[in-house]
Symmetry: C2
Subunit: 366 residues, 2 copies
DNA sequence: TTGAAAGCGTTACCAG
DNA sequence: CTGGTAACGCTTTCAA
């Protein structure tokens, strides 16, 4: 795509044009104080309401201050507040990929819970699946300081350096909630292991024997809770695991599409495919379609995450759910609990996962 | 969904358990200075490299400082830096909905460009389509301070209060880039007007006369660049605009689904439906499917945004593209340009939009 | 080449 | 009830 820029096509209509701007800064507490004819401390008091249950400000003074604030359009500087008070009132969240609706859901859950609790929210996505990049993100976050961290990017720990930073801030007493169990910290686990066993036995009960796995996680072991149970369940059912049926690929839809193309042009092609997430599953279904293979008649497809659109696809996607939005809210609640009560016993929340059978799975064709 | 919590199921395996944590704080510059046996200013110098082209630090000292930094795991406090230097090194982005892949793309574009330029990135989503909420987000952002703002949530201006804040920070000289043209500020416009005219005439050329519009924007006028050209083009072609064919609904897939159900059960149902975005279009196709109406044979469907999965749907979705990722990058570049050169003439970047014909559109059935 | 000291916008403590 | 004033962690002159 080409982008055309017209830097010289300048039109001046409204009074707001850059060259006329007076570069005055944000008003400060001092400005407010001067305007209201009180001291800076007084302003601070009315902003923060009562101090320790005492309400030492007269209504008259309070009003004067409030008016001045309003008139000046004053907004307290959160950085200065944080610096001075030692509390950032901020929680940070790291997710692997902003573009995966599953994590958008999770992030939205955290954000809304945070906002409801009057907390700032710092979101970072480790979009590029490179380890140095992950470290950068981590450092960046640490520099900005926060009161608690929710870590959904398990794989950030692939980097030794990132791991060190994490362990260091944790040792310093920084609350951390992990979305999946790794360290001995508060954990919100939504492990897909059990669900995967269910998935495999469901497929087997439908007569499937050759079950492919589209394992698209960008080279990291983020999906082990699906890979290992998949292998175990197969073995347990007396079906030998065929490595040729496991496609390792990237996490994008296109990756899932390409991987499936390979799978479905095998001499003995699978009659069912499990994709590590719904996005990948969309690619799977498309690949099947392009090959003239019908879902679910000729091929059963299962995804994970139950992203919002899964229930609107053609055919509707059979998937495993974990309600990311609620998980996000819950993660925030756990974090807050830890922030407020640092010596709480370790919190472990288990988010149940559930197989949702819809239209993309059916009897094995042969 | 039920969430089960086991707060008392405490397992202690690793040495990292909360009750044992020593609550020591992040090391400060002072700690580093003490460790290296130099003054705080010296530490600051080596962190920031040279000062004004002069490199007043001896290699020996520098190494001592660097070692101390490393040993202590020191990370400078960005807030303090910002406070002291007057530069936040941060850009803020406001998008309407984190859950819409289109905006995820845009946000990712901004984030990656920002990171590449060593800028912090502050993302806010006005997810709940309520105006007070939007104001809160705005205030929250202002409190945290930033060097520049990218505003993709046009509709934030529906709130008078938000508008005032925006105008105030702009008057103070705060760089702003808008994603669609509103005020007389730097603008990256990706207006769908032209494309919409193209869409309508394309549909008409296919023989369609009854063309529905699924207008799902949460009650705001975010989609006027589609609504108005739609009406105009129809009129221009001598086709009367039937208000019954325009469904106003929310922005979710389900909204699109429900709206389409209404549209398709009309006595004289449309033979083509334009959805204001691809997410909605997914709902449209599903609704058609549930009604036994085939796409594109019985019904043509067109969306907007060309979200990544549009090309993998069944059938592949005809849509209008605007490459949100690149737009995000470009928006950041414009913002940086303005930050670095405040008296630049007004920048206007036009992102071309393009109709992409895929499989969801075809000849009118009757 | 390094150190001292002022200041950034707050909070919080301590007198008045 | 209100006003000084010392931090908070850093940058940035200005001297040494």
């Amino acid at each position: 795509m080409k982008i055309i820029t017209y830097p010289h096509k300048v039109t001046r209509v409204s009074i707001l044009s850059y060259s006329q701007l007076i570069n005055m800064n944000q008003p400060t507490q001092t400005d407010v104080a001067r305007h209201a004819g009180v001291s800076r401390a007084t302003v601070s008091y009315v902003i923060n309401g009562l101090t320790d249950g005492k309400i030492p400000i007269s209504n008259e003074t309070r009003k004067r201050v409030l008016d001045a604030i309003d008139k000046l359009g004053y907004e307290p500087d959160a950085r200065a507040q944080a610096l001075s008070s030692g509390k950032t009132n901020t929680v940070a969240l790291i997710i692997p990929d902003l573009r995966n609706p599953h994590f958008s859901e999770f992030a939205t859950g955290v954000e809304e819970a945070a906002r409801a609790a009057d907390y700032h929210f710092l979101l970072s996505s480790t979009t590029l699946i490179s380890d140095e990049y992950a470290v950068d993100i981590f450092k960046d976050l640490v520099r900005r300081r926060f009161d608690g961290l929710i870590l959904a990017s398990h794989f950030i720990l692939n980097s030794k350096e990132a791991q060190e930073i994490l362990s260091r801030i944790h040792k310093r007493g920084l609350p951390i909630v992990e979305f999946s169990e790794i360290n001995n910290v508060d954990t919100i686990s939504a492990d897909y292991s059990d669900a995967t066993r269910e998935v495999v036995s469901y497929l087997i009960s439908l007569g499937h024997r050759r079950i492919g796995l589209v394992y698209g996680v960008g080279g990291h072991d983020l999906g082990l809770d699906r890979l290992e149970p998949y292998q175990e369940s197969l073995n347990a059912a007396g079906i030998e695991v065929d490595p040729g049926l496991i496609i390792e690929c990237g996490p994008s839809i296109e990756d899932g599409y390409q991987g499936t193309l390979k799978l479905l042009t095998l001499d003995a092609r699978p009659t069912a495919i499990i994709a590590i997430n719904d996005l990948l599953a969309i690619g799977v279904m498309r690949a099947a379609g392009d090959l003239g293979i019908r879902v679910p008649d000729d091929l059963s497809v299962i995804g994970y995450d139950d992203i919002p659109m899964a229930n609107y696809l053609m055919p509707r996607l059979t998937t495993v759910t974990k309600d990311a939005y609620t998980a996000g809210q819950k993660a925030f609640e756990m974090l807050i609990a830890r922030i407020q009560t640092p010596d709480l016993p370790r919190q472990i929340t288990h988010i149940p996962t559930k197989l949702i059978v819809r239209e993309s799975t059916g009897q094995a064709p042969f």
